[in-house]
Amino acid sequence: MSRARADEEEYWHSSKFRAFTFDDEDDELSQLKESKRAVNSLRDIVDDDDDDDLERVSWSGEPVGSISWSIKETASSSTSSLEGRDSSLQKGSSSYAAFPKQVSSYSLSSLFKGRNKLPSFQSLSDALSDTGVKNYAPELRRPKTEYKDYSSDWSPKDTVRRMQRGKVCSLERFRSLQDKLVLLDEAVAGHDGNVITAVLIFLKRTLRREILFRELEVRQVALCHLIHFLKETGEQKLLLDLLRFLDRTEEVALSQYREHLNIQDVEKRREFLKVCIGLPFSAEDTSHIQDHYTLLERQIIIEANDRHLETAGQSEIFRKYPRKASILNMPLVTTLFYSCFYHYTEAEGTFSSPTNLKKTFKIPDKQYVLTALAARAKLRAWDDVDALFTTKNWLGYTKKKAPIGFHRVVEILQRNNAPVQVLQEYVRLVEDVETRLNLATKYKCHDVVIETYRDLKDRIQLTAYKCKVERGSAEEEKINSILSN
């Protein structure tokens, strides 16, 4: 259900229901006159709007002009002054003009609306809680007896109680703002969210936005229910207006940001995220959103480039390891892995190079090394792995250093089926003797085990280890020579 439709319906409903109650009313003559005046003065706005209103085609296909006109007549004449202004104001306000009119899907939806004519459907509850269907014309023809039930005079309290018991109740008779608020307060006091929501739907339909917002501001419980309701039904526009009115700016920002998840097209998503950066997030969230935007921007560039490379078939790496999925919308670390896999050697200047990513997103050393290691190990590029941990000091000596601890390096290499020669080089670098022994034994790095026992001068263990190595192998010889020394 599109937003635009919902909002237009708000208008149509505000007129429709007053049409029914017109006959029952006899004590509000003065109000009627006043509202008539108000509405007359506003009619040109309404008419104007009606001209481009596609809703005029009714489900039955009959020409609608005259009927809708008569509805408007009756509707406006029974409207209280406040509400009269309300509906016209909503129509006239600039925020509404921004909505695209619902165009397509119309014939289809009208088909389903036709089902509303089923006899079972014409119960009162439908007429009351209805905001979704625009069958305004036929309702005029309903026999009056059908409305008898809800014209009875229940107090707000009784009404709420009836609704709590799941009975259908008319809310239309609560006319004045005062009555409506009493009704709302009763509903809130009853704590039944279902009833509170029902009353809120009614108020939302019949009250001007500003008034609704103002009154809800001092009624926190009802306010929360409305916010929840708007979230559930996806009435994003009204929700944002409400949050803005309440000055809950961070929520506005988050709620708006959430929208990006519904945008499938990446270009549009990128544009949307760009707008999000300016939203009033908390300071640290702003930087996250900024990063999110930058990342997607990068991914779009990388994706276009790489798809081209892959289809051209020129690049060896893409031929050898075809991409399993597109990089779009992947997390940062996954992107880094991707770039370490396909673009490892690129200069820092290019967007797809790992070092560029590392710099732009301030990826911590640890994270970077882990990811690069995993990517290069997967490609079995052992030289790159070696380079990753080699640092030169100012004297030109090389030294092995790993910000993540060499036991982790070994684990990752092992998971990528590194050969024993490579593996044992790093096992040897594990500082803690016990861990080193464990890893070496586990991954059959015999040399390391033997050397470690030698350094520990542990003859017993060394002798015991002899049975673990192959008979007649170089390792066995080594053990023997150490033992005999």
């Binding site: 509850s125 809680s129 039944d192 029902a198 926190q220």
Partner: protein, 545 residues
């Protein structure tokens, strides 16, 4: 009985073929379910005759919102009857009731929508109509206060509810989940708790990998192993399960092997049966023995499955970190293990559980630590999770240490939440359910019974929400004259969910010889840390419709 032809689970698409006139949708009032129903109805073959009639039954309440939604989809008119089935509390076991409303915690603490509390109050009114007015109500937390208020109000408004049933319950204890955010985050270590943590118990059923349950008597039929998950029902009707469900997992093995010996001894008896009478007696016991044997076989298999996981290195590391946090070690700095898990892309929920646990055990994290975790999580799992992190912050699970003061050590010491000398085999304290950590919620219940909350006023003030006591007057004829040695019965209602380990701890208290109090447990939902965090996460996949 009612000539129900078939029952189907709700799923989108065309409705299954069935030669019936009436189709009844039996649903929770949720918008996403409404979408499925809409799909079902719209795909219904219009040309078929006879036309099928649709009805809809909402559990527990009709929802105007849902009906409006159906109407917007243009299908509301297709339903001939729209009714409600007021099922608030569903009995799960002899001492356990649940509303099975998984979104209650989220609704109460994120959306401030207290509808499910209204249902909880209604459920309690029904319970009182059946089991008598509960004379004493205690509570801790905003939601608890709310439910108590509603109960009092409902009682006032429906004077007819005054009944003449002798009260079964002496006390009602209402507890907010947010009073104790810690407990569900920790890994449960009871047998039942672990089954739930690892495989997830759904409405007392659990689905298990089938490999270990292959029938052994099929000769060499190893090839056709069952591929369907094995589905088992778990409740106290099964004698063996009743005995082991609440034990610490480390104590389960010995029970199982003892049982195995008893059963094989019982089967051996047949060799000693000499007379016809003895044989007859033996045969009459056979069905019982066979049931016991298959039950034993099942639980041995489950225990093996769980053991594979509990003995894994990662389970051990994870547990070590949890226990460090709960006992107050190094809660104020970035934890290495958590960092490693993020780097290895362990499931996000696991990370969130640990980070939240650390936050709760430190009364919030320092700015630097919190920022670090957040950044790592977003970079590794995607920036959109900023929404989930915000939800967790709003629920108080993840927060900044504002006062610069950490209250947790005081709470821990006063309530004796951490016990160093825990006895898993023959427990003498509730802390056995988490092998050291005594669930805060259950400790509150225990201290309420003896010596009373007055002794812990200071700590109660540190925990969120008000604590209160209400009394409901009983007609003099119904007032209980307690026999010496007779136990009091307390109904503990967890608003926002309860874990199996907490239930186990309360059952343990019920069974204590000098306890003096028996507990019955009610809740809005049975939860574990994973399902709980999941309910707070932002749904990142767009709806399939």
């Amino acid at each position: 009985e009612h000539e129900v032809e078939k029952m189907f689970t709700l799923k989108p698409g065309r409705l299954p073929q069935a030669d019936v006139k009436n189709i009844i949708f039996f649903v929770r009032p949720k918008l996403e379910l409404m979408d499925i129903i809409t799909d079902n109805v719209l795909r219904e073959d219009r040309g078929r005759s006879p036309q099928r009639d649709f009805h809809i039954l909402f559990v527990p309440r009709r929802s105007l919102l849902c009906e409006q939604w159906l109407k917007e989809q243009g299908v509301l008119g297709s339903f001939i009857h729209r009714e409600q089935y007021s099922l608030d509390l569903i009995p799960f076991d002899g001492d356990l009731l649940s509303m099975e409303s998984e979104s209650t915690f989220k609704e109460c603490y994120l959306e401030s929508d207290q509808t499910s509390l209204y249902h909880a109050a209604k459920g309690l009114m029904t319970l009182q109509a059946l089991y008598g007015t509960i004379p004493q109500i205690f509570g801790k937390g905003e939601c608890a206060r709310h439910v108590a208020n509603m109960m009092i109000r409902m009682k006032r408004e429906f004077p007819g509810s005054q009944n003449s049933i002798f009260p079964v319950f002496d006390t009602l204890l209402l507890l907010d989940r947010n009073v104790d955010l810690l407990t569900p985050l920790a890994t449960q270590l009871t047998y039942e708790g672990l089954i739930d943590e690892i495989y997830g118990i759904q409405n007392t059923y659990v689905k298990l990998p089938p490999e270990k349950f292959a029938p052994k008597k099929q000769g060499e039929g190893g090839k056709d192993l069952p591929t369907e998950p094995k589905k088992l029902q778990l409740n106290s009707a099964e004698e063996l399960y009743a005995e082991i469900r609440d034990k610490n997992f480390n104590a389960v093995g010995s029970v199982l092997s003892k049982k195995a010996k008893i059963i094989s001894a019982a089967f051996e008896e047949r060799h000693h049966a000499k007379t016809v009478g003895e044989i007859k007696q033996f045969v009459s016991q056979l069905p019982h023995m066979q049931a016991a044997r298959s039950s034993l076989a099942n639980h041995t298999s489950i225990a093996e499955l769980i053991k594979d996981i509990t003995t894994s290195e990662d389970f051990f590391d994870n547990l070590t970190v949890e226990q460090e946090f709960m006992s107050g070690i190094d809660t104020d700095k970035v934890n290495n293990y958590i960092e490693d898990c993020i780097a290895q892309k362990h499931p996000l929920i696991k990370i969130l559980r640990l980070v939240c646990l650390q936050s709760v055990c430190n009364s919030g994290l320092k700015q630097k630590v919190l920022d670090h975790y957040k950044r790592e999580i977003l970079q590794t799992y995607g920036y959109e999770h900023v929404l989930t992190l915000n939800n967790l912050e709003k629920a108080g699970l993840l927060k900044l240490q504002t006062s610069g003061r950490n209250n947790y050590p005081t709470i821990r010491k006063t309530l004796r939440l951490w016990m160093d000398d825990v006895n898993e085999q023959n427990p003498n304290d509730i802390s056995y359910v988490y092998s050291g950590y005594a669930p805060l919620s259950v400790r509150l219940a225990q201290l309420l019974a003896r010596p009373g909350w007055r002794s812990i006023e200071e700590v109660l003030k540190m925990l969120p929400g008000p604590h209160f006591e209400e009394r409901q007057q009983l007609p003099t004829g119904l007032q209980k004259k307690r026999q010496h040695g007779e136990n009091r019965v307390t109904l503990v209602f967890f608003l926002g969910g309860v874990t199996y380990a907490e239930i186990a701890a309360l059952r343990f208290l019920s069974q204590m010889e000098d306890g003096g109090t028996e507990y019955v447990i009610a809740t809005t939902k049975l939860i574990n840390g994973t399902s709980w965090i999941k309910s707070l996460m932002e749904k990142l996949e767009p709806a399939p419709f």
